[in-house]
């Protein structure tokens, strides 16, 4: 991959119009390189979720510019006609709860994304099994999500996010339901995966256990981002 993983300049998002308008994002600037994991922290109502939704192409920013790899995907309007395909192929999502599909087994939860992208079932399942093995849950490949522990479910969710080898992964409080040991294990995995697959990963978190692990942290306050070096850099 050439250039930046994801680059954001002057991103703004306004909800409503006139007197009732609310500027959720006022001036967001962010750069995450391929293979890098950055933290995004901020108090409630600071605009974290709005930013994540803009980055995830589920809501449209009001203004600004977003570049994914070396392609501008937003500049005062979406430059990509098929946002669904953009989310499927080029953005991975990891949620606070794993949100695995309960009626699919572990392999098919991961293989679903490549299948949706048009990969043959066999190839998609092979890719899923490789990822599950890499994330140390290969032995649970045939299990149903309800049979997994919380940590295992989160690792499967990470495998699903990586399934289509997206250049960027958005992780929304991925360690919130986990204890310290498992939370740190998930962060370790995210770092390993970022390095291994050259993926830019943005982790939105409140979790003080994992904040010291980031090399770079973006604070978001009143809709604006401020960058600082994290303890993980030292």
């Amino acid at each position: 991959m050439k250039g930046f993983g994801i680059h954001i300049e002057g991103l703004r998002k306004r909800y409503g119009e006139g007197d009732t308008a609310v500027d959720a994002l006022k001036d967001v600037n962010m750069t995450v390189a391929p293979g890098e994991v950055v933290g995004l922290i901020g108090p409630s109502g600071s605009g974290k979720s709005t930013l994540l939704k803009c980055l995830g192409a589920v809501i449209e920013p009001t203004a600004g510019r977003m570049t994914l790899g070396d392609e501008v995907i937003f500049e005062d309007g979406w430059r990509i006609p098929d946002l669904r395909a953009l989310r499927r192929d080029r953005i991975g999502f990891v949620f606070q709860a794993p949100y695995l599909i309960p009626f699919l087994d572990v392999t098919d939860n991961v293989a679903l994304l490549p299948m949706l992208a048009g990969k043959p079932n066999g190839e998609a399942r092979q890719r899923a099994n490789e990822l599950l093995a890499a994330l140390d849950v290969g032995h649970r490949a045939r299990a149903q999500p309800s049979q997994l522990s919380g940590g295992e479910q989160q690792r499967v969710a990470i495998a699903r996010a990586l399934a289509n080898q997206p250049p960027v992964i958005l992780a929304d409080e991925p360690t919130a339901p986990l204890d310290s040991e498992r939370a740190l294990s998930v962060v370790r995995i995210l770092n390993d995966m970022a390095r291994q697959f050259r993926t830019a990963i943005i982790v939105v978190t409140h979790d003080e256990k994992i904040i010291p692990t980031f090399k770079r942290i973006y604070h978001i306050r009143d809709g604006k981002t401020y960058e600082e070096m994290g303890l993980g850099a030292s």
Partner: protein, 397 residues
């Protein structure tokens, strides 16, 4: 691509199967209602076919003998036999009544006929045809009578000498065949007390009891105690003769009503059971609406229970048509399970119905198509909800 609907059904198969069984019983009732209507039509057609007649001759201005009462003198058939194209003609009586066997009553249509003439049951499944002039009977197996049973009709006992099958009235009552004279008596003869009273009343009437006219009173009393009426004359025509031509001749020259096979079928199917057909039609419409409501409710509830999963699926790039297809396939799957259960249930319980229930393959095919259409229609509500799910709801905040 894997079948999301199939996986979901397999994952929660017990819920699907139980719901399908519930829906299936409802579909079974619907198929049975259709079968009841088909049975009524078939009974009517069987009644016409089994009579062996080409033309029914009845009292003028009536639509007898099945749809309305009709009374003819029993010598009319002789006049009909003289008409061109008529090969055979015979008197028949029909009377629906309670026939007793021991302490039990069986509702039956008692048919009076002349052995060897039109009106005789076409085939027997056991025993023999009536050979004596009195007190023998042939009964449909649906009466429950056995060969050798003694049954009571009005004042006389009859021995069952033969059994027949599918000989029923248009109302589904099984038939009991007895000799014509006995049937005339059963239908028209009064009881002994009534006869004595009538004789006394006639004797006391000076107009009828006139000593200067010897034999008048005896003649009048004799005419009161005998009966020469029948309900219809069944006519068979010679090969190659147009039945309508013969029937119109009877109407014109004999001043009687005559119906051909087609006309009698029209009376029985379109008029006699028309109200029942509408009644059943209403039931079918209501059952279809109830089935649709149940499927819609179940699929809607199941979809509401998967809102978060649907949001995740949309967020990770699943097409709307894939999600809609998943819900539609589940509704269709439910309909398929329901139809199979319903068809099996209707087949199992149909023989236990007191009246004939005819489950036609064509009705099953039509029923299957309707069930699938209803399920597809019912799923639209859930699809609407699913398509309105915002993928952003999968992301917190």
């Amino acid at each position: 691509m894997i079948s999301l609907a199939g996986r979901d059904i397999l994952y929660s198969w017990s819920k699907f199967v139980l719901t399908g069984i519930g829906l299936g019983l409802l579909i079974g009732v619907t198929l049975t209602m259709a079968g009841v209507y088909r049975g009524m039509v078939d009974d009517a057609k069987a009644l016409i076919s089994n009579s062996g007649a080409d033309i029914w001759v009845v009292q003028r201005d009536t639509q007898g003998p099945y749809a309305e009462s009709s009374s003819l003198r029993d010598d009319v058939y002789r006049a009909l036999l003289g008409l061109p194209g008529v090969s055979r003609a015979a008197n028949v009586t029909y009377l629906t009544m309670q026939v007793r066997l021991g302490n039990t009553d069986v509702r039956a249509m008692v048919v009076g006929y002349e052995p060897g003439q039109p009106g005789e049951p076409g085939y027997l499944v056991a025993g023999r045809q009536i050979t004596r002039s009195h007190y023998e009977a042939v009964a449909d197996v649906k009466t429950g009578f056995q060969l050798g049973d003694t049954i009571r009709i009005r004042r006389h006992d009859y021995r069952v000498v033969g059994l027949t099958r599918r000989m029923v009235s248009s109302g589904g009552d099984p038939m009991v065949f007895i000799p014509l004279k006995d049937a005339q008596e059963a239908q028209f003869l009064k009881d002994n007390d009534a006869i004595l009273n009538e004789r006394a009343r006639t004797t006391a009437n000076p107009t009828l009891n006139r000593p200067v006219v010897p034999g008048l009173l005896d003649a009048i009393l004799a005419s009161q105690n005998t009966n020469h009426n029948v309900n219809a004359v069944l006519v068979q025509i010679a090969p190659g003769v147009d039945p309508e031509q013969v029937a119109s001749g009877i109407r014109r020259w004999k001043h009687l009503q005559a119906f051909t096979h087609l006309q009698m079928e029209e009376i029985l199917v379109s008029k006699l059971i028309a109200t029942s057909a509408k009644q059943i039609g209403m039931f079918l419409v209501i059952l279809a609406i109830v089935s649709a409501a149940i499927v819609a409710f179940i699929i809607y509830t199941m979809t509401l229970g998967k809102i978060r999963e649907i949001a995740v699926l949309k967020l990770i790039g699943t097409r709307n048509r894939t999600i809609a297809g998943m819900i539609l396939q589940q509704a269709m799957g439910l309909g398929l399970i329901g139809f199979m259960v319903g068809k099996a249930a209707a087949t199992v319980w149909a023989p236990f119905f007191p009246k004939f229930v005819l489950l036609e393959a064509g009705d099953a095919v039509r029923g299957f198509i309707v069930v699938m259409l209803i399920c597809a229609l019912a799923s639209t509500l859930a699809i609407r909800v699913a398509l309105r799910v915002d993928p952003a709801t999968a992301i917190g905040g």
